[in-house]
Subunit: 416 residues, 2 copies
């Protein structure tokens, strides 16, 4: 057995790597049919250029010929950058007084994904559980699974808001944390302040009763991207044992640069020890530190913004296109994903793809996604996100791709 058995098993699991596989299939299809004839909604890879402040900052850092510019720094990152990130969080979460963060509450990481992996290493012992409301970002399974943790999905309400009662039932002494992602990938849902408050109350009560306080991890890379004036609730004032993990992948369009951070609520019990454990994980997992160059860049331009109105327009366009094709979807409140219901097949030969669960009949979305591929439309199946029967369309793509896919989508629906 050349590779580890567990890795082989996961690699062969069709749900696990289907999104990334599709990204590579998309590249191949575009090479074959031409960029304009492939409608690739498979990956959350922002197509918008970073804002001009990023380019200015990149130029400035590029000119800095200090010999140590590209050297090691403390594993948590440059203190100047950590202070800037603390200011960002204080502003976003409207923190004041003793609740305010400073640089020592921040660990710079290799993107939000690297931050989440470090958090998992820091808090999860084998057999521990990480609770997530559905739908959830597919990779969470791996981040906790690497360290013997188990992802425990809790089904959300019909409108994809958090089922706090459901989470309460799932809590146990094995619960290391509850992980929420708002705006949500893939549903576009923003959890309300009321939901977070209720969730915090349940977590507090559980912690007092069982002696182990679950952390609340808020994965917020899409915080700045919201529609119709919606605001993302702040967890820090509502629950002490909380962390925010985020990146500059979406709001500064820098996903490939792997720049992100973890912010630990200074009011958390043993906050300093938790930070130390995350830094330890950052070092020993081989990240060592967040890339030096972009730490300097984001310290200069963290408050810049890509033009979110573009995403708002695209959101309007894609909901119209998908509605015109007669496909149901969840109205996005933020992020840049449209979560669609795979339609039940009408053609006799496809009826084998009608499946059943407690909520009734639904369509095998892997089959429908394969069917859409015939029309050069690439979407991500929902099973990986814990929602079979749904699929995700990432609309961080050009307007031309969105409007161009309408006919293909209609045909896919008609021939299904």
């Amino acid at each position: 057995m050349p590779i580890a058995a567990s890795v082989k098993e996961i690699m062969n699991n069709k749900g696990s790597s289907v999104i990334r596989k599709m990204f590579e299939e998309g590249i191949a299809l575009k090479a074959k049919y031409g960029e304009d004839n492939v409608f690739d909604f498979s990956l959350g890879n922002p197509d918008m250029a970073p804002p001009k402040e990023v380019y200015q900052a990149v130029q400035e850092v590029a000119k800095d010929e200090n010999p140590s510019r590209h050297g090691y720094m403390p594993n948590a990152g440059y203190m100047e950058t950590r202070e800037a990130m603390a200011a960002k969080i204080n502003k976003e979460q409207n923190l004041q007084g003793e609740g305010k963060l400073c640089g020592k509450n921040i660990v710079m990481t290799v993107g939000a994904a690297g931050g989440l992996t470090c958090i998992c290493k820091a808090i999860i012992s084998p057999g521990d559980e990480l609770i997530v409301p559905t739908p959830f970002f597919a990779e969470y399974r791996h981040y906790c699974g690497h360290f013997g943790g188990k992802l425990v999905p809790v089904k959300s309400k019909k409108d994809f808001s958090i089922d706090v009662e459901g989470i309460k039932k799932a809590l146990s002494e094995k619960t290391a944390a509850v992980l929420i992602n708002s705006p949500n990938n893939p549903s576009g849902k923003i959890y309300s302040e009321e939901e977070i408050r209720e969730l915090a109350k349940v977590l507090k009560e559980h912690g007092e009763k069982c002696g182990r306080k679950p952390y609340l991890i808020c994965d917020e890379p899409y915080r700045a991207i919201t529609y119709d004036g919606k605001k993302v609730a702040s967890a820090f004032p509502l629950y002490n044992e909380s962390m925010v993990v985020t990146s500059f992948a979406k709001n500064l369009s820098l996903p490939g640069e792997r720049i992100g951070f973890v912010a630990v609520n200074p009011k958390a019990e043993d906050a300093d020890e938790l930070v130390a454990a995350i830094i330890f994980a950052n070092r020993t997992l081989g990240y060592v530190n967040s890339p030096a160059f972009f730490q300097k860049v984001v310290a200069k331009c963290w408050d810049a913004k890509v033009d979110y109105s573009t995403y708002q327009n695209r959101c309007k366009m894609i909901t119209k296109v998908v509605a015109n094709a007669g496909i149901e979807f969840v109205q996005p409140e933020g992020a840049f994903y449209l979560f669609c219901k795979a339609p039940l097949p009408q053609k006799e030969e496809n009826k084998k793809y009608i499946l059943k669960n407690d909520d009734g009949e639904y369509c095998d979305e892997f089959a429908f996604c394969d069917h859409m591929k015939k029309y050069n439309v690439l979407c991500a199946p929902g099973s990986g996100f814990g929602c079979p029967g749904y699929y995700r369309m990432a609309f961080c793509v050009s307007e031309k791709t969105i409007s161009g896919c309408e006919e293909s989508l209609k045909k896919a629906k008609e021939t299904w």
Copy 2:
């Protein structure tokens, strides 16, 4: 228990994080006594500026305003960069014909440390073993430990060459790989082609007998830094089941940028599956991809070099300084580390630090390193590298630091 018990235990282990802790202590001491009065040999953080080709490449990439410049690419990296790295390995290992690598044998990673962690994830099942000759880079323990692997140190010969018979005895069906680091951190030893050939023979025989072929992992970030015309042997032509992992931390002085890669021998059985497993690990461990910007930079300037003659001069200086202080050491053949024997204490009150093992008496090097700190000399204890009684001096520091420490070192020795 807010953080995982295993993490807490390792964080409290004095050997495990002593080097990094010392790096941060060094920063504090310098703030207190002034940069010139602290002799910090604790960390392998190159002080030499990157070569001019790097600055030129950084400027060029900084000017590239292609909107996708900072976006995601396939998890293995840009194909253009992977092809460049294949060319680098073909040149270094003098590969020809069907043994030659191409881009698909390369995975770009977050430094060599990220590459090693991905390899461990890809090939280690819980209970598997990773054999390393002593001394070894202290972090190897973590890279395999995260996935339930066990590091099995095999004592090297007195001159720190590989004890191939010792490795033969340590091999079992649990052996996932043998990991060698040449030039070695911390001993500066270069393993000869003859040693690698013998090792390869033993690994082949074991693989045929037991049915599981152990990988040979060559960690080579110091390959280009050698003294007196010494050459680093190439493993690929000698053993099919081999990998090279390396970075641009040392030869281009870019450790903070976290840019490295894994090269898989195309002759390895299931080479493509192994590459796929490493890419899977790269994605799911939250690295996602090697930082985009520096992938573009190193594709342009991988063949540039910092001025290695500077390291050669420093090597001459430090060996003289340490010899003058009456301290024994291993003559470095490459890299920028001097591995010294902690002297047996002469003062009555320090005799409690004399310890014993199979080779006879030796000095508790933690105590001697603490003692040197009183004279503002910072060195890394050898226990973390699997060699109690030794300590490491990293000489990637200024000539002034090297010559300046002579008096302090003498005093430390005299008062011991």
